[in-house]
């Protein structure tokens, strides 16, 4: 595995997961002087937890930065993560339209300026009903209208419930955009403005990066983050804990700070899904905007 010096995050991998992966590839111990001849032992030992649960000691000099794990192959990205079924809960009583979710999402996916995968709608159902903020992601429907109409299988539904786009296959017919009742899809009308380093990356369905001209993009539930055991960017970026993400099979959702039993949360707070009558069966649930943490005010 080649070490990339200008790896964007440039972090030191103290994660043994990666190192252990290396070890198993070579079936040799990577932490010995024979394996890495040009590194001199510093004599400072650090204790680490191996994947087998053993405490091991390694010379600090042998700890080396590893690049980000490469994205999974697109064939694997089409399958999804086995044994998972992802779900999101959006608590409308906590949202005050700070839009940190949107900023983080736009930043991490390098979305074209002006376009958004996450939108935060000011909603008011009727004249005398209460206004509230409604963030929307892709609903990752279980009966996705977009997937139904795609002529080339460029947008697809995975076993773990996530709906993704293969931008290398998309022909740009925009039928999916017409079909989506949640207006969640955006189109790359012009060449995306990307740093060369990002633009040159091979496209990954799981990171949805880099976006390509003439193809459709949308919220992807950040499966690359989920695969690493992290939360989607919007979830961790929200200062008010509006977004909760989890696995419906584990019956757990979390916003990072709090963890809930999904079924209890939906039952206690009377959760619902958007446009249930259309039969799209979204994977995103909403908690109604009652007992709100913030007053509704539109910022000028």
């Amino acid at each position: 595995m080649k070490i990339s010096q200008n790896s964007r995050r440039d972090f030191l991998a103290t994660s043994l997961l990666a190192s252990a992966a290396l070890a198993s590839c070579n079936s040799k111990n990577p932490f010995t002087a024979e394996e890495i001849p040009d590194v001199k032992p510093s004599g400072v030992m650090v204790k680490l937890l191996s994947v087998d649960g053993e405490i091991i000691e390694v010379d600090k000099a042998f700890l080396k930065p590893v690049p980000e794990l490469p994205a999974v192959m697109n064939t694997e990205a089409r399958e999804g993560i086995a044994g998972k079924k992802f779900v999101m809960v959006i608590d409308l009583s906590r949202c005050k339209s700070v839009k940190k979710c949107q900023t983080a999402c736009n930043h991490m996916h390098h979305i074209h300026p002006g376009q958004n995968w996450i939108k935060v709608y000011p909603m008011q159902e009727a004249e005398h009903t209460a206004p509230y903020w409604q963030p929307t992601t892709c609903m990752h429907c279980d009966e996705p209208p977009c997937v139904k109409v795609c002529p080339v299988d460029a947008t697809f539904k995975r076993k773990d419930g996530i709906v993704l786009i293969d931008s290398d296959r998309c022909i740009g017919c925009r039928f999916c955009m017409a079909a989506c009742p949640y207006s969640t899809r955006v189109f790359n009308w012009e060449q995306p403005i990307l740093e060369k380093e990002i633009a040159d990356k091979p496209y990954s369905c799981e990171t949805s990066v880099p976006q390509k001209v003439g193809t459709v993009g949308k919220c992807d539930f950040c499966p690359d983050m989920v695969r690493q055991g992290n939360l989607p960017h919007c979830v961790s970026a929200c200062p008010n804990g509006v977004f909760m993400f989890g696995d419906i099979l584990e019956d757990t959702v979390t916003n990072g700070a709090e963890t809930f039993r999904f079924s209890d949360l939906i039952k206690d707070k009377a959760g619902y899904r958007l446009m249930e009558d259309l039969g799209t069966k979204p994977s995103v649930y909403y908690l109604p905007p009652v007992n709100r943490n913030f007053p509704f005010e539109i910022k000028k």
């Binding site: 949107q102 002006g114 376009q115 958004n116 939108k119 935060v120 709608y121 000011p122 929307t136 209208p145 139904k148 109409v149 795609c150 002529p151 080339v152 299988d153 460029a154 296959r169 998309c170 022909i171 740009g172 017919c173 925009r174 039928f175 955009m177 017409a178 079909a179 009742p181 949640y182 207006s183 899809r185 955006v186 189109f187 790359n188 009308w189 012009e190 060449q191 001209v213 003439g214 193809t215 459709v216 446009m275 259309l278």
Partner: protein, 438 residues
Amino acid sequence: MDKLTENKIIEDLFPQKFGKQGTIWVISLSIICAIGLFAYSRQLYYGLEVTAMRDYVSWGIYISNFVFFVAISLVGSLITAVLRLTNVKWSTPLTRIAEIIAVSAITFASLIIIVDMGRPERFYNLFLHGRLQSPIIWDVIVITTYFIISLLLLYFPLLPDLKILIAFKDRNGKWLQKLYVFLGSFWKNKPEQFKITDKAINILAIAIIPVAFSIHTVTSWLFATTYRPGWDSTNFGAYFISGAFLVGAGGVVVAMYIFRKHYQLEKYITEDHFDRMGKVLVMLALLYLYFNVNEFLVPAFKMKKSEEEHLLGLFTGEFAPIFWFAIFTAMFIPIFILLFKKGRKPFPAFIAGVLVVVGSWFKRFLIVTPTLLHPFLPMHDVPASYHHYIPTWEEWAIAGGSLAGALLVITFFARIFPIIPIHETLLETESHENEKHF
């Protein structure tokens, strides 16, 4: 048609060189096409950003133009198949006009759909990764089938005419003669040959009817299979088919008038033809009107919240001028003109035909775009320009170029081949004569 000798008929119907008018016509159309091609080269270079389409209005005048082309192409099946199978004899001289309109329109329908694609160079993915569950794949299949059947329906009746054309070697240029020989030298006017082509034409004429219904029904399903207000309608297939027959018949009347005038075909395309086509147009316009009433009155009676904004936008709002223009020019005014016997004379019928075609084009625009401006969730978190759709010059140039291209194909066809079937006209004159003797 008495006093028409065989030589006179051949002389009258033989393809003619472009005169001064014809040359101006061809040059003007070519210029429009060239501008369209230039605009398309810009679109290929810069991407769809050169259009005014954005995330909400993601389909614009390219798609309305596509629907228009598919619609007008249906006339081939109406004139050649429906009228043929119902034993209507008067439409024989019009079959080739209808069929070339069909072939040329369906060709440009396919082209314009490629123009609309964000990644036209990935067109092959439709064959590599095509999924049968997508209505787009259904459209690809039926449009290809329709194109091939229409081409055959154009070609088979042309074979006896090719034999006649080949006989006039001196009149044809070198290239034309080569083309005629290539296309039809095997045709010897043998009874067995006629037996085969007659049978083939009959089979194709039957086969094309369900295919023609399919192409436009499937095209309507591109919209009706979505949830959107204005598209979510079970009326859509019939609404599209009836509109298609109307615009196609309108197109044929226009073409009849122009060919008749330009090539002096008064003896072949008679006032009687205009009278009958005028009646057909009235019937079709009434039929389309009926489906329009269904399409708008029923949802307007209920005024569901999601439909309300869309419907009011059409009736009294942003799109009201185009909406009422389309309704009046495509239906009410032509019906009014053609109800009168004087209105079915060639010139007024021609005007009615033009109105039908123009009104129908705008009707297609209204079917596609206003719906997209009324999504379920309000338009939000997008640049202000995404809230409106005013096509750019590139879009107009490309759409105009495709229309000019379709006309150019028809024009060149009429230059190369007899636009009125010579052989069939001879046969009919003959049977006319025979009837007189008995």
